[in-house]
């Protein structure tokens, strides 16, 4: 199985060599866990230097059936959801010279179940970029879609880290991410222009001087009233980022600046009503980073050591537009007849009090964050290791938007979204809490659906897109509308960033620690202080070990004690997190010519106050080449979230019948197993079975009635697909 190992290395080096984005610092800080790289990953980059037009891609044809059962479904509920699809992702790369490249990616998706509803399938373009390394390789640039990373406190994407994640899971997660143009790196998906300059060696003393400038558009303004159908956002938001850095004697010194702002003009081009408020958010972060790696000065030592540190200052301010009554005086010439004087012209005054668009400062916060990490890494007789210890302190008022938006969002129902529930509480739980986090992490549904009058959503004054009340809706209901297939997805990931006000409101993500209990917003999570340590060991690609320990605290206002004593009680909420993982390639250990990788990990996180949450994750997996082209993949994952003090109540229901509920215990389990057959070079057949169970225990309050209940769903998922990389 040496081929796999070698390919993995080639892929890594070629990825580094070709990453035109050249996200310098983010790369080293995002050192990915010893993760099994997908066998299905494209090899096109190997031929990257070929001039002219090239078409690569991946075609996948398959079927997926998810059969759900639950006592909480109602009698009429569908229990099965089927997908039968052919999905082709075409990557067109054009290289006019060896220096620059145009990259366009197109997706064709055919859903066979709706094949007769609509014959024509549109092609969706989902990646457009022009990248290059020009001026004698001194300048890298990206125009269009790009992935850019600065530092963990400025531009960064916090990623889910599951130690020793078996390949059967990792591949699913990558596929879900890929459908939203995301990947597993810590670079952020952006659209705009990125230019980076690298001097190379200067005067034999300075190894490198870098300067980078990034401009991107983060959100778009809705241009029409009824574009609620699309993912438009009623804000026009921009990023301007810049960084400089110097490397010499193994040390790195850098400064980063990120400025995000909402443009006011586009929002103001649309009238707002008397009850509307529009918020304009501005976030600025300046950071200084320092790094040192002994490798440069002591290249002969088998061990290298060093440090990475960053200090950041943030400024966040929000002002808002709203309609306020304002006194207005207007003057006009008037003529009146005055007794005894005659006609008199005077200046008449009239006052009015119209609603006028008014702007006021709303909130403002400045904060600081610092982290420093020491590392020792080396290679001593086949033993690769990396040990890191870090200290982190972030103010509660610190906010760095582009570093604080994880790509994992969760809370969606991916499979069997067509199910009906037997009572409104269960339905509300599925709407807010959503399906299990394991389902969100590993599954995604991509559909191409015919658009017709009934599924075109539009503004409130029209009942559908094509007709108002003056036309019978039936007129359009079965109308075939050529070329009007829509690509839809149910996916737990997003590349969108959260403004601070949005992040504050999204308490569910804070509550549901599916990504990380202690650092839900990555290293830039506000109000954290503590230490983190990690160890990664790799013995000759045969045995892998990872360990993580995080001890962090958060200031916490204990309202229960506060109410009793009458004086504010501010305590510390202590997070204790640890995880370890072990993997062994038995095939390599026993000197067989095949990979038999056995993996497992255990992770636990808890907090001492607030909701007293505790999460436990157990992972186990097997990736084995059985015989010839056959490989066996299996994975087991159990995830348990307990809220000892009960969750935060979620308000739901109708105005007449409101109710609250909180989930206090969630147990999830995913068992997956499958066979992968290599049909030919770069072509695979994959047969998989998965069993997903999700059990939520909750407490509810419906006015008079209070109680506890549970919602338990089991899904059996069968999938078969053929994947061809070309």
């Amino acid at each position: 199985m040496n081929f796999n190992m070698n390919m993995r290395k080639i892929l890594l080096t070629s990825a580094f060599a070709l990453s035109a984005t050249a996200a310098f610092a983010a790369e080293n800080q995002a050192e990915v866990v010893t993760q099994q790289k997908s066998l299905l990953e494209k090899l096109d980059s190997l031929n990257a230097a070929v001039l002219g037009l090239k078409i690569n891609g991946k075609a996948k044809a398959g079927a997926l059936a998810s059969m759900a059962s639950s006592d909480q479904f109602n009698d009429e509920s569908p229990t099965q959801e089927n997908q039968a699809f052919t999905d082709v992702n075409l990557r067109l790369t054009a290289r006019p010279s060896s220096e620059t490249m145009i990259d366009v990616q197109l997706r064709l998706h055919k859903d066979w179940q709706s094949a007769y509803d609509e014959n024509n399938n549109p092609i969706i373009g989902h990646w457009f970029s022009y990248d290059g390394t020009i001026l004698n390789k001194h300048v890298d640039f990206n125009l269009g879609y790009m992935r850019v990373g600065y530092t963990p406190l400025t531009i960064y994407t916090p990623q889910t880290e599951i130690l020793q994640e078996p390949e059967i899971f990792a591949e699913k997660r990558r596929e879900a991410l890929e459908k939203r143009n995301l990947d597993t790196t810590s670079r952020r998906l952006l659209q705009g222009l990125n230019v980076a300059y690298q001097s190379g060696n200067v005067a034999g003393v300075v190894d490198n001087i870098t300067a980078q400038l990034t401009g991107a558009r983060l959100r778009n303004t809705a241009k029409k009233y009824d574009q609620v159908f699309f993912d438009f956002d009623f804000a026009d938001r921009y990023l301007l980022g810049a960084r400089v850095g110097v490397d010499a004697y193994g040390a790195h010194l850098g400064a980063n600046y990120v400025n995000l702002m909402d443009r006011k003009l586009p929002s103001r081009s649309k009238d707002i009503t008397e009850t509307d408020t529009v918020y304009y958010d501005k976030n600025m972060v300046f950071s200084a980073e320092l790094g040192f790696d002994s490798k440069k000065l002591l290249p002969d030592l088998p061990i290298t050591f060093g440090l990475n540190g960053e200090f950041a200052m943030s400024k966040w301010s929000v002002d808002r537009d709203f309609m306020a009554k304002s006194k207005q005086t207007s003057y006009s010439l008037q003529q009146k007849n005055v007794k005894g004087i005659g006609d008199v012209v005077y200046v008449g005054i009239s006052q009015s009090e119209p609603y006028v668009r008014t702007n006021e400062d709303y909130r403002e916060q400045d904060g600081q964050s610092i982290y420093a990490s020491l590392f020792v890494k080396g290679n001593v007789s086949d033993l690769d290791f990396n040990v890191e210890a870090a200290y982190l302190k972030t103010d509660s008022s610190f906010w760095s938007e582009l570093a604080s938006s994880p790509v994992y969002q969760g809370h969606a129902t991916i499979l069997n979204a067509n199910a009906f529930y037997n009572n409104p509480i269960n339905a509300a739980i599925m709407e807010t809490f959503g399906a299990s986090s394991l389902e969100n992490l590993y599954y995604n549904v991509y559909n191409s659906t015919t658009l017709q009058a009934y599924n075109l959503m539009t503004s409130e004054n029209l009942s559908n897109a094509l007709s108002s009340e003056v036309e019978a809706a039936e007129m359009f209901a079965r109308l075939d509308n050529n070329y009007k297939n829509g690509h839809y997805y149910r996916n737990g990931y997003t590349g969108n960033t959260y403004k601070k006000l949005e992040a504050e409101k999204d308490y569910l993500r804070d509550l549901d620690p599916s990504v990380s209990l202690s650092l839900p917003f990555g290293l830039a999570t506000p109000d954290r202080k503590g230490i983190m340590a990690k160890v990664d060991v790799n013995w000759a690609d045969k045995v892998f070990f990872n360990g993580r320990v995080n001890m962090l605290t958060q200031t916490y206002a204990d309202y229960d004690k506060w109410l009793k004593s009458g004086t504010p009680v501010i305590e510390e909420n202590k997070f204790t997190e640890f995880a370890f993982g072990l993997g062994a390639d038995i095939g390599a250990i026993a000197a067989l010519d095949r990979q038999i990788l056995v993996q497992g990990s255990f992770a636990q996180a808890k907090e001492s106050a607030y909701l007293k949450r505790k999460t436990t994750r157990i992972v186990a997996g097997l990736t084995a080449d059985v015989w010839g082209p056959f490989a066996l993949l299996a994975g087991f994952q159990q995830y348990k979230k307990v809220f000892d003090k009960g969750g935060a109540p979620i308000y739901a229901g109708t105005e007449e019948l409101p109710f609250t509920f909180f989930v206090n215990d969630a147990s999830e389990r995913l068992i997956m197993g499958g066979l992968r057959v290599k049909l030919a070079s770069m072509s695979y057949l994959s047969l998989q079975y998965g069993m997903l169970t999700n059990e939520l225990q909750y407490t509810y309050n419906v006015g008079e009635a209070m109680g506890a209940d549970k919602l338990s769903i089991t899904k059996n998922i069968l999938s078969a697909d053929v994947t061809v990389n070309f």
Partner: protein, 239 residues
């Protein structure tokens, strides 16, 4: 280098331009003769204040009408009229105040007499014991009422206090002088003792030129400035 110099010059020009004052002398200030004061001007022509107050009350009532709706407003008008007519003290204050109605004591007495007569007649009509003269009287609107009504805030019980607390916009007076008063030869201040024998405006040819223009619609602007002496005669200020 040449280019740099060029750019520097542009930059320098820009800086100079940005620093130099762009403000034009305030011509509006110049429109006032020396010693003009709003207070003095409106004292000489109190009806300007009266007109402003009437407008203010009218404006207030119109906004109230828009806010509460026409039917609710009409209900308020009926209630408010009854309140004001019942409150003779306030009615008298408004009637006698020179800024408001500016009525005389005799006028007030006559008005009250008429008011009482109308109210008695109305009572008789209501009781069914009205003579034909009574019915005719009952239909009349009291003259007092007609005069006071432009100063009545709908929905306000004590109109006199409300009127006293009303904000006065003095800018309206000064602009009236600039736009109308000055060219029409309105006095803007009291005469000083040494001006007591200055030519009266009535004796100047401009008086007739404005009163009876040579052609219809023709207007000759008065270029003079006038003060008013103790006897109320407007006299030319010698400049």
């Amino acid at each position: 280098m040449k280019k740099l110099h060029h750019y520097m010059m542009i930059l320098l020009a820009g800086v100079l331009g940005a620093c130099s004052s762009m403000s034009v002398d305030n011509s509006y200030e110049d429109s006032f003769p020396a010693g003009f004061s709003n207070r003095e001007y409106v004292e000489l022509h109190p009806f300007l204040l009266t007109l402003q107050i009437k407008d203010y009350v009218n404006d207030y009532n119109a906004r109230l009408k828009k806010e509460v709706g026409i039917s609710a407003y009409n209900v308020q008008v009926t209630q408010d009229s009854a309140t004001l007519l019942g409150n003779i003290a306030v009615l008298q204050q408004i009637y006698l105040d020179p800024i408001y109605v500016g009525g005389t004591a005799d006028g007030w007495d006559a008005g009250v007499q008429e008011l009482v007569a109308i109210q008695t007649a109305k009572a008789a009509v209501a009781a069914g014991s009205a003579t034909s003269a009574d019915s005719a009287t009952a239909k009349k609107t009291p003259a007092l009422w007609t005069e006071v009504i432009p100063f009545n805030f709908i929905g306000v019980a004590d109109d006199f206090t409300a009127l006293k607390n009303m904000p006065i916009d003095s800018m309206a007076f000064s602009s009236q002088y600039v736009m109308f008063g000055r060219t029409h030869g309105w006095a803007y201040r009291a005469c000083r003792p040494d001006e007591a024998n200055n030519t009266a405006r009535n004796d100047l040819p401009i008086k007739n030129a404005q009163a009876t223009p040579a052609q219809k619609g023709e207007f000759v602007a008065d270029m003079g400035l006038y003060c008013r002496d103790a006897t109320g005669v407007d006299r030319l200020i010698i400049q």
